[in-house]
Symmetry: C2
Subunit: 334 residues, 2 copies
DNA sequence: TTGCGACTCTAGAACGTTCTAGTTGCTGAC
DNA sequence: GTCAGCAACTAGAACGTTCTAGAGTCGCAA
């Protein structure tokens, strides 16, 4: 409890063990250059005194910090999965993560500035909202990886989902179930919305269903989905692909409230595999972004940049995969 | 992009501005002791060179780090809200947060060790799973605040919800709606489960409903709730309070699948106000822990400990509040 | 005996800050 | 003319590490 008495340092351990500071440093790092007996003795002393290395001093001296800064928004639909993946990938690459959160009361700029002071060697941003030009100037200082958004700037790396392919998979899935009248509820001005919509159009055309193309205006929220769901009432569609899971949830709520059976009367497919979609109570068929792959790519790209490796493609596009669940079923059932 | 060329330091700025390093330090900190003209000139140079202070060196020298370490589990039902609250509270108190996440592949021990190396001055743990004795030895090194769990150790501060009162509120709410036959689905061996169950019994007794007390075995997960929901079939209860929201969701799923109307036939009240409970599609009546109050208390307690202030009560218990939503309604409706 | 490499260990500088204890130069009171 | 007091500034130590260069010891081959 007493935070007054200074924490034990290398010098304390050295004095107690009767060796030099440098030697203790060697032992603590597990570096070669110490005798077995001394090594053991030093470790024992360090342990007894409760020695904890001071990463700040350590990093200060050694120049390198081996630290990747991560900015995430606590409201992001799968920030938890992404963090899990990033920690694993960073660990494998021999790097550490420092996190900085964006919250409703703490903006991205603040979060980034905090990390810059920590001298991390690269920055990984979850779906950044900063202007491209701001990201550019930031990227002039250190390697910058944007996730879930394709930032078009020559200094900024981007790791993101193949939105078009995701929409293809959703449509393909529904077509395979026998659906032809498939609508799409779009995401408005949300990033990724245009690509997902284009993917839908594309797939419909490929399946020769151009006549049944039906794009309803929507948005990223539950209420957007609910509004769009109302429009479905006038629509003969037997299936609908929705911009994201939250919006799909709004659609489901409206449909069920109207007594429409899902998936009996109409199939609904979301996008993102947000954590709530897995709840058996919701059980939403959706397109999952490959979180692990994206995390791995983001880290490996960051490491490559830090270590001065060659990069051919600024952009890494990761294929998603469809997760069939309970809100989609064969068209014949309807 | 080039991470090779050393970042600019105080010395660079000093050389460029033709003053001493110490003076630049004074200017950058906004400390008194520099003339207005020089101050302006130094700031301009610093800005031009893109100077960023190095928090590591800064903290190393000044001893204090003004850093609070926070360990959170990405699977925690409201870690996002808590982080939001903590950032705000820490900012107000003039402290910074460093985060360390627990993930399915990264355990609490690792998360804590990382923070210890960062020389933070206190540790705040979200519902820690470490043994009390381990927490005790940790607390010997630095102030330790456990949130959402009442750790019974004289060195460990605890900030947690008043579980009993939460259950009282749930029962009171249902009684006010005219329910008498109110069951409780418990949380098994989960921390907090005993308290929530006791609160339920308590409240039932207080309302003279001892004869209708009915505790069904449950657990923390959706499937636990679903299993318990099956048992409700044989039960005449018109309402049920559930250990937590996730379990309540399992109950809801089973009931609805059986064609039981919620809240028409039976009312369901959860606990925790997990983010999904707010989804209009789920709209679960629940007991919300007062996240902001808990965050504020945790931070202020940490700061008090760090600064050697007096603490009378080791434990801070925060009152929750009931959030009425769509899964509870008047008993007469049934 | 000497020389040499291998091994173990140490002294001291360095990292980028902050802090203490100055020095300088100016103003104004005596 | 002297000196106290103050504002503006500086030199250099300190923080806890790591790293470089080198010193001491030992065993063994020549």
């Amino acid at each position: 409890m007493q935070s007054g008495d200074r924490r034990t340092t290398l010098a304390d351990v050295a004095a107690e063990a009767g060796v030099s500071v440098a030697l203790v440093s060697i032992v603590m790092r597990g570096a070669p250059g110490a005798g077995a007996a001394t090594r053991e003795r030093v470790l024992a002393v360090a342990n007894r005194l409760g020695y904890q290395p001071d990463s700040r001093a350590r990093l200060l001296r050694s120049g390198r910090s081996r630290l990747l800064g991560v900015v995430f928004d606590v409201r992001h639909p799968f920030h938890d999965d992404l963090l899990t993946g990033l920690y694993a990938a960073a660990g494998n690459a021999g790097y550490q993560l420092t996190l900085s959160a964006v919250t409703p009361r703490r903006d991205e700029r603040t979060a980034v500035d905090d990390l810059l002071q920590d001298r991390c060697e690269a920055l990984i941003l979850f779906s950044p909202r900063l202007r491209t030009s701001d990201l550019g100037t930031l990227a002039a200082k250190l390697p910058l990886i944007a996730m879930m958004r394709n930032v078009r700037h020559r200094n900024v790396d981007a790791v993101h989902n193949d939105e078009q392919k995701g929409s293809h998979q959703a449509v393909d899935h529904l077509v395979a179930l026998g659906h032809r009248r498939i609508a799409h509820i779009d995401g408005g001005s949300q990033p990724g919305s245009a690509e997902r919509r284009a993917g839908y159009m594309d797939a419909m055309t490929r399946h020769g269903l151009t006549d049944f193309v039906q794009v309803l205006p929507g948005g990223p929220g539950e209420d957007d989905g609910a509004r769009a769901g109302q429009l479905l009432r006038l629509d003969p569609s037997t299936a609908v692909t929705v911009f994201n899971d939250l919006s799909a949830l709004g659609v489901l709520a409206v449909l069920r409230r109207r007594g429409v059976d899902v998936p009996g009367d109409i199939s609904v497919v979301g996008y993102d595999d947000s954590s709530f979609s897995r709840l058996s109570h919701i059980d939403l068929t959706t397109v999952a972004q490959d979180v692990d792959a994206m995390a791995t790519h983001a880290v490996s790209r960051a490491v490559t940049r830090i270590e001065g490796g060659a990069v051919t493609e600024r952009e890494v596009v990761v294929a998603p995969r469809l997760i069939p669940r309970g809100t989609s079923a064969s068209a014949s059932a309807g």
